[in-house]
């Protein structure tokens, strides 16, 4: 089990996060660029030292330091514990594969020598299809191949925890799906805690058992991959997980009688037409429409703001007046706090 509770100073804010990842569990940290995700991985790996807090892996303290305030009060504090990164046995795969350019692919794979599980490596080489390039130098292989090699190197080395820092971002969708599936099963088999950092929600959801939403160095919400989207803990979380608009609801059954409540509008959770059993029904007018994937994206003017939604067929032409139903939307106060689901009509 990995237990992290650290404060790491950054230029504009402190990254202050507490999270626990069980052995064999896949945890995703999702947040915008610069929110402090990578800093957390670096603190676990030992590449940066927090100013306070602790990192514990399988009951072994990797880092521990008391906050300065405790020392100031004259208490006799323990000296900080800092296990250097080469003894932590924490694997890290980044977006750039970090292959050693002066070594062959094979030498890269067995770089950690005594920590490499040879049988496991042979299996990974086969599954990932990198046998033909074992003799090549990293400069002579494609980006997708390099990332497979980096992944194989991390998975074949016996680590106690696995950290993945947007490892698939530069890859095409098919390879991304393949590698995600492989890592999921590998983590389960190895029984080590794994953290994936992602700034794409889909990537985080595809990987994780549980995910944390991080912004400005703080963990805003931790929950199941579907829960954080259906029940965002605040308007900021809702924005981060894809709610594109926030429309005021008139006081009534949907708001539990509260006034000044806004509903989050997620493009995938809007139904054209009135369906009062599924959520609040609002008057809208179509503003624009365009093809999105196999369906249509429609921009609707609702309650003074423009929100987008996705429909499979028959997008209304611009200017059409219509009713829309927000499917069980999350509700927020004017200050952005969640006030509970509209259907249940009360706080959580």
């Amino acid at each position: 089990m990995l237990d992290v509770d650290v404060i790491v100073p950054r230029r504009h804010f402190d990254v202050s996060v507490a999270l626990t990842v069980a052995s064999g569990e896949r945890f995703a940290l999702f947040g915008p660029s610069g929110s402090g995700k990578t800093t957390i991985l670096d603190a676990v790996a030992g590449l940066v030292d927090p100013i306070a807090g602790h990192v514990t892996l399988d009951g072994v303290e990797l880092f521990s330091a008391e906050a300065a305030g405790h020392r100031d009060r004259g208490r006799r504090s323990r000296p900080p514990v800092v296990v250097p990164p080469w003894l932590r046995r924490v694997g890290l795969v980044r977006q750039r594969p970090d292959l050693f350019p002066h070594l062959s692919v094979e030498a890269n794979l067995v770089y950690a020598r005594d920590r490499v599980d040879d049988a496991h490596l042979a299996r990974l080489v086969e599954v990932l299809g990198i046998a033909p390039i074992l003799g090549a130098r990293p400069a002579g292989i494609s980006g997708g191949q390099a990332q497979r090699v980096a992944l194989a190197r991390a998975l074949a080395t016996r680590h106690r925890a696995l950290l993945l820092d947007e490892p698939y971002t530069a890859l095409d969708a098919t390879l991304r799906r393949e590698l995600t599936a492989l890592v999921r099963s590998e983590v389960r088999t190895a029984g080590v805690p794994a953290i994936l950092v992602a700034h794409e929600l889909g990537e985080a959801q595809a990987f994780a058992d549980r995910m944390g939403i991080i912004d400005g160095g703080a963990l805003l919400q931790v929950g199941a991959p579907d829960e954080v989207v259906r029940l965002p803990a605040s308007r900021r979380v809702a924005e981060l997980v894809g709610y594109r608009g926030f429309v005021p609801l008139p006081g009534g059954a949907w708001t539990g009688g509260r006034l000044g409540v806004v509903a989050g509008v997620h493009p995938q959770r809007v139904r054209l037409g009135a369906d009062p059993g599924s959520g609040p029904v609002l008057d809208a007018s179509a503003v624009d429409r365009r093809p999105v994937g196999a369906g249509w994206g429609v921009d609707l003017a609702v309650g003074g703001s423009v929100v987008s939604c996705l429909v499979a067929d028959d997008p209304p032409s611009p200017g059409t007046e219509l009713s829309v139903t927000l499917l069980d939307p999350p509700l927020f106060t004017a200050t952005g706090e969640a006030v509970g689901r509209s259907v249940t009509g009360g706080g959580r």
């Binding site: 250097p84 990164p85 080469w86 694997g91 890290l92 970090d98 350019p101 770089y111 920590r115 190197r153």
Partner: protein, 257 residues
């Protein structure tokens, strides 16, 4: 179009060779095999060459031993006051060698505390082999350290981090990752430092008039018997100074491919 560009670049290359290497052609044109053989076969004529090679070898060994760690720390910003160190090296690089020589007299001359300290172990840093080495180190050091710093800077620190996470302590990481990747740049820095050390003259003429290395020998021969008799020693200096840099250049081009 492509052909015209090829011709133009060929002409440009020829011009560069003519302008920069013209003096070299002139040197070769003015030398006869007979004059070279007779000048270099005179008794003691090869002593300056031996002294130059020995002093430069010692200088380069000292530079590699002390300059390489310094360059690494500078490249990784791990040295307090790194910018100050860099400025110091730049000043050394920009300072006329003659001035370096004068300042060295004030630093390690017999009348200085440092000179006195050196005298205690029955050595002297003026007009000795030691003085020659010191002068050569001062002239060559910035070329080596700044070159080596650039070589280390070109190594992605993420690769070093990856090696550390795969279980290598810092020293082993340097040996397995940093040095092999910086090697082409280090070789170039080393070769440049060698050429500077072998050819050091400005500081040398002030603090190490004796023993004669090749540059001093050229200078003295030029003054005593004229240009023609100095030319064979000039050729000898080129033969000593250039092969290492050229080999390093060829190797680093090959290694970077």
């Amino acid at each position: 179009m492509v052909r015209a560009r090829g011709v133009a670049s060929g002409i440009a290359a020829a011009l560069v060779w003519l302008v920069f290497l013209g003096p070299l052609w002139a040197l070769l044109a003015h030398l006869s095999l007979h004059s070279v053989v007779s000048a270099l076969s005179a008794p003691g004529a090869l002593d300056p060459m031996a002294i130059s090679v020995e002093a430069s070898a010692v200088s380069v060994v000292v530079l590699v031993a002390l300059g390489t760690p310094l360059a690494y720390l500078l490249a990784r910003d791990r040295l307090p006051g790194a910018r100050l160190w860099e400025s110091g090296l730049l000043v050394m690089l920009l300072m006329p060698p003659l001035v370096i020589g004068l300042l060295l007299v004030f630093m390690i001359g017999p009348a200085t505390p440092l000179g006195a300290l050196i005298a205690r172990v029955h050595l002297s840093a003026t007009n000795t082999f030691l003085a020659l080495v010191v002068a050569e180190i001062y002239e060559a050091a910035p070329y080596y350290v700044l070159g080596a710093q650039a070589a280390f800077t070109s190594v992605d620190p993420r690769l070093e981090q990856q090696a550390v996470l795969l279980g290598d302590p810092p020293r082993r990481t340097v040996r397995r990752v940093t040095l092999p990747l910086a090697a082409p740049g280090l070789a170039m820095a080393l070769a440049t430092a060698w050429a500077r050390a072998v050819g050091a003259f400005g500081a040398v003429i002030i603090v190490a008039y004796h023993p004669y290395g090749l540059p001093m020998k050229i200078w003295i021969t030029l003054n005593e018997t004229g240009l023609a008799s100095a030319l064979p020693f000039a050729l000898a200096l080129l033969v000593v100074a250039l092969p290492l840099p050229l080999a390093a250049y060829a190797w680093s081009r090959h290694a970077r491919r």
